[in-house]
Subunit: 180 residues, 2 copies
DNA sequence: TATTGTTATACTCTATAACTATA
DNA sequence: TATAGTTATAGAGTATAACAATA
């Protein structure tokens, strides 16, 4: 049952690997989200935005953030609005290009991260790192870096949406296929 | 900057591995969701429910499904309702225990999977498997299996929610900390 | 009393499309 | 004309709590 329909199935090792990888990451992500919410009232996306801004050299544009997080720009506007209202980030127009908005983390934002990060790392350590040794980590990082770079080689999310929209105008085959 | 505050930071290899792992899986999941929606009008959760039922020996209870998918039971009821309305699954009371509901996949459900799965596997192959060889796969599977089993060793999601509720009644310190 | 599952509800999130403004 | 970002809107998804029925 492994090699009959080469196009319609994966080898068992391939499928198993895919399934266990996504399952484990889902479990980890679920636990992480719970901790972030309880410890700092942050969703995972909000935390990721803050972290990106905290570790960036300077301010980032909205598009940079959206692409980095695989996020739609309108979704990011929404989340950035929440974070700004909470005083954790600022948004200021860029002087060089008036279309661009620079997002930057505030002191309160850094304080929030300081409050949340230890528990966050504790969860990561307890659930994810505990069963791994240094060699596992090195290997895992090497493999997943290759996978990520391979995927990042395709166009980023926000541009892809625009291109899809454009392409749809040219040839319109009626995309999807009704209800769930 | 690696070893000063052992409690508040991870070693760089640890952090890098964690970040690249979650980033790659996010990218993959995003692409997969797009494909499932376009090819079969299914969300990822709906697809996962169908797949579990398709590969199960017989019907599964709602709780089994919820725990397997790291999902709240009410959320599962909602999704199962959609799938049932679409004729892709059935829900029938279990004769042995009248509280229990058995969910099973229908022929239409299997047909939907047949329609969606090839494209799904194509995405997985193109984005995830392409840059990996057999040895990578074996290693990755071994590592992630260990991680998953470690995480699964803790109580499943639906039970955890109940326990948390109970514990909250005993000592009530006012959990979270306001706004985002 | 504990467990299975559903419902009612309220809310968060996300995407699409239309829009503004700058380049 | 193309790009950056926002807004308006509408829909999907999720969790919580209350509930019913069974064990």
């Amino acid at each position: 049952m492994a090699d009959e329909r080469t196009d319609d199935c994966l080898a068992p090792e391939e499928l198993d690997t895919y399934i266990v990888l996504t399952e484990a990451v889902s479990l980890l992500q679920y636990a992480v989200e719970e901790q972030l919410r309880a410890a700092g009232g942050l969703s995972l996306v909000q935390f990721q935005i803050l972290m990106r801004l905290a570790f960036a050299d300077g301010p980032l544009t909205m598009t940079d953030l959206a692409d980095g997080l695989v996020y739609s720009r309108s979704g990011l506007t929404y989340q950035a609005g929440l974070l700004e209202k909470a005083g954790l980030i600022t948004r200021t127009p860029c002087p060089d290009d008036e279309r661009v908005v620079h997002a930057a983390i505030t002191d309160a934002g850094r304080a929030r991260i300081d409050r949340v990060l230890p528990g966050h790392l504790e969860v990561v350590r307890r659930l994810f790192l505990t069963p791994l040794d240094a060699s596992d980590l090195r290997t895992l990082r090497a493999i997943m870096t290759r996978v990520r770079d391979h995927m990042r080689a395709r166009p980023p999310r926000s541009a892809a949406a625009a291109r899809r929209r454009t392409a749809a105008k040219a040839a319109r085959p009626g995309r999807d296929a009704g209800g769930p």
